[in-house]
């Protein structure tokens, strides 16, 4: 015991005993193992989708009409689905993003601590947890049942996606508005600005980076959704650029239809669609990250 190192005050500065240190190292190892458990499925799915999807994607695949399932992979493409995904998601964004931002403006700028604002904030939280298939059934119930088969259209799908995006946009915008310092608002009131002007020209611009990035993440999530579209858009195999009438289709819906097909061509087109869809969502997410990095004046 002669080798015991003691600090001047008599404090024992020895390393923890071997057993305690081993336990701690084991725990750290387990955490890294958890991270590996998370990486393996992600890597597995990305590698598979790229390996099976990359070979089929070309200009023809992205634009040509959807062929019958029995045809091999070099026939036709997924043009109508690419067009449908872009149109339906864009229209959903056009509906949900302004309404969501305005809702967040109400919660943070007008509502304050009033019971109504607290209730709405609470409900928007609850609404983020509503399953996407319920949103699809909801739009089916209020739009497709009254209108019959003519109710099936890209627009109905956009409505369902918008219902899904709305609470996400509200939550993320609300968090961003809360970060805007009060001194900015007070400064503009002191200059005689009305409340609407303060919100539109001072508060929103200073939070715009975070708001846009939150909205883009909501769009990315909506673009990949299938369940809200199952009962609302119908299905077509030729381009239907008219969002407001006639059935439509989307990449996610086509993957869903082709995934359980026994035909090699149909499965190949599903993998190609999956890669296209992943590319769209990843691009949206990366743009969101860049926006945050570029404009993070008041973000965390």
């Amino acid at each position: 015991m002669a080798a015991v190192t003691t600090a001047p005050g008599g404090v024992d500065l020895r390393e923890p005993s071997g057993w305690r240190r081993a336990k701690s190292q084991f725990a750290t190892g387990a955490m890294w193992f958890a991270f590996v458990c998370l990486l393996v499925p992600l890597g597995f799915v990305l590698v598979t989708v790229i390996a099976k999807g990359a070979s089929i994607i070309n200009w023809q695949f992205l634009t040509a009409d959807i062929p019958p399932n029995v045809l091999p992979a070099n026939f036709g493409g997924m043009g109508p689905a690419v067009l449908g995904t872009l149109e339906i998601t864009a229209f959903a964004a056009v509906i949900a993003i302004p309404l969501g931002i305005l809702g967040a403006v109400y919660l943070n700028e007008y509502g304050g601590n009033r019971p109504l604002a607290r209730l709405l904030s609470f409900l928007s939280d609850v609404m983020t947890g509503v399953p996407s298939i319920v949103m699809g059934l909801f739009i089916y119930t209020i739009w497709v049942i009254p209108n019959g088969l003519t109710g099936l259209s890209g627009m109905a799908g956009s409505f369902a996606l918008a219902c899904l995006m709305l609470p996400i946009v509200i939550r993320s915008s609300y968090e961003m508005l809360r970060l805007v310092p009060d001194s900015l608002r007070q400064g503009s009131y002191a200059l005689g600005a009305t409340k609407a002007r303060v919100v539109l020209t001072v508060v929103l611009p200073s939070a715009i980076g975070g708001i846009v990035s939150g909205a883009l993440l909501a769009v990315a999530r909506a673009a990949g959704e299938t369940a809200p579209l199952l009962f609302t858009i119908g299905v077509v195999t030729a381009n239907n650029p008219n969002l407001f009438s006639g059935s439509n289709t989307a990449l996610s819906a086509q993957i869903w239809l082709n995934a359980s097909q026994p035909y090699v061509g149909a499965q190949a087109r599903a993998w190609g669609s999956a890669l296209t869809l992943i590319a769209i969502t990843f691009i949206l997410m990366i743009v969101a990250r860049l926006v945050t990095a570029r404009f993070n004046r008041y973000s965390r």
């Binding site: 084991f26 958890a34 992600l42 990305l46 305005l102 007008y110 928007s124 049942i145 995934a259 969502t281």
Partner: protein, 334 residues
């Protein structure tokens, strides 16, 4: 005029002076627009509950409570019992939670307590990537790659290895003879786990990040190792919040549709054998809605949507209650 302005609590103090006797029209219109957008959330939630309940009344009237919660699902003969689907949803979500919990908490601890901040950011990006992989892509991968692989390379060995072990044999052993299925309760739970890990990790991480640095430094100063510090300082402070994050993950898992519909095996059975095909509420809505031509059939599927809506709302409310109570307690402690 100034009295009406003052009565409006949304107007900042001071703007009611003689300089501005009346709020301009645009200002009031904007406030109304904002209020209307906020109210939209309430309107949509009420409409979901009301319209979908209306459309599903014929299910409730023709089956009754005992019919709804029976095992008898046979649309061709007008039997619409939902018990097998409720059971499948609960079992698959529980498997998902059991698998996702250690991984999420482990990664959350790794991000907050182990790796330096500049390494944490790339790991967060990876988790975000996992979060935006669409559900249908997990389903496609699940049915074409994962299910065949599990069925041929993994499950038969697991089943024969545990067949004679108490309980494990009942859960993972083969059902009558040596039948195990790649598309099963367990596979659905596995895919669900992967899908809810990102949300559970980021929520747990937020909770763990609120542990006061002084608590952690105190533990280290007493000579604790990192693991002892986590058990003594981090865990007591964040366990309730992590439970809330887990409940939110459970809510997500219960509502997840497309991936489960593709890998669950689509068989309305209630069994303890997890390696056999099952079914879930959202999956049956997605898979059978196209054939739901009879009035009661469609009403039953929409009614299942109502059940799912209520179930996820209850889970989310309890998660929120847990987190709020914890946040208040922690504010008091800080």
């Amino acid at each position: 005029m100034s009295a009406t302005v003052q009565a409006d609590p949304a107007t900042p103090a001071g703007s009611a002076s003689g300089l501005m006797p009346r709020r301009p029209l645009g200002d009031r219109v904007f406030q109304l627009l904002a209020l209307a957008s906020g109210l939209l959330v309430l309107v949509i939630l009420v409409l979901i509950a009301v319209t979908m309940s209306q459309q599903s009344t014929s299910w409730f009237t023709s089956e009754g409570w005992s019919g709804i919660f029976s095992l008898d699902w046979d649309p061709a003969h007008g039997k619409f019992g939902a018990l097998a689907f409720v059971y499948g949803t609960v079992v698959m979500s529980l498997i998902a939670i059991i698998l996702a919990f250690p991984v999420s908490v482990g990664v959350a601890l790794l991000l907050t307590e182990v790796v330096p901040r500049r390494w944490a950011q790339p790991i967060v990006y990876v988790i975000d990537l996992l979060a935006v992989v669409p559900s249908v892509v997990w389903g496609l991968w699940g049915i074409l790659v994962l299910v065949p692989w599990l069925q041929t390379a993994i499950y038969p060995h697991v089943a024969s290895a545990v067949n004679d072990i108490w309980i494990l044999g009942n859960l993972f052993g083969p059902l009558n003879g040596n039948y195990v299925s790649g598309a099963s309760f367990f596979t659905a739970g596995l895919v669900l786990a992967v899908m809810i890990i990102p949300i559970m990790t980021s929520l747990s991480r937020e909770v763990i990040a609120t542990v006061p640095a002084s608590d952690k430094e105190g533990a280290y100063a007493l000579g604790a190792t990192r693991w002892e510090m986590i058990r003594g300082a981090v865990w007591p402070h964040s366990q309730v919040g992590v439970m809330g994050a887990t409940l939110l993950g459970l809510g997500r898992a219960m509502g997840e549709t497309i991936a489960v519909a593709l890998v669950c095996g689509a068989s309305a059975t209630v069994t303890s054998h997890l390696l056999t095909p099952g079914y879930a509420m959202p999956a049956v809505i997605a898979l059978q809605f196209g054939e739901a031509t009879v009035g009661v059939f469609r009403a039953a599927l929409i009614g299942m949507g109502v059940l799912l809506f209520l179930l996820t709302i209850i889970v989310n409310l309890s998660a929120r209650a847990v987190v709020e109570r914890n946040a208040r307690r922690m504010r008091g402690a800080a």
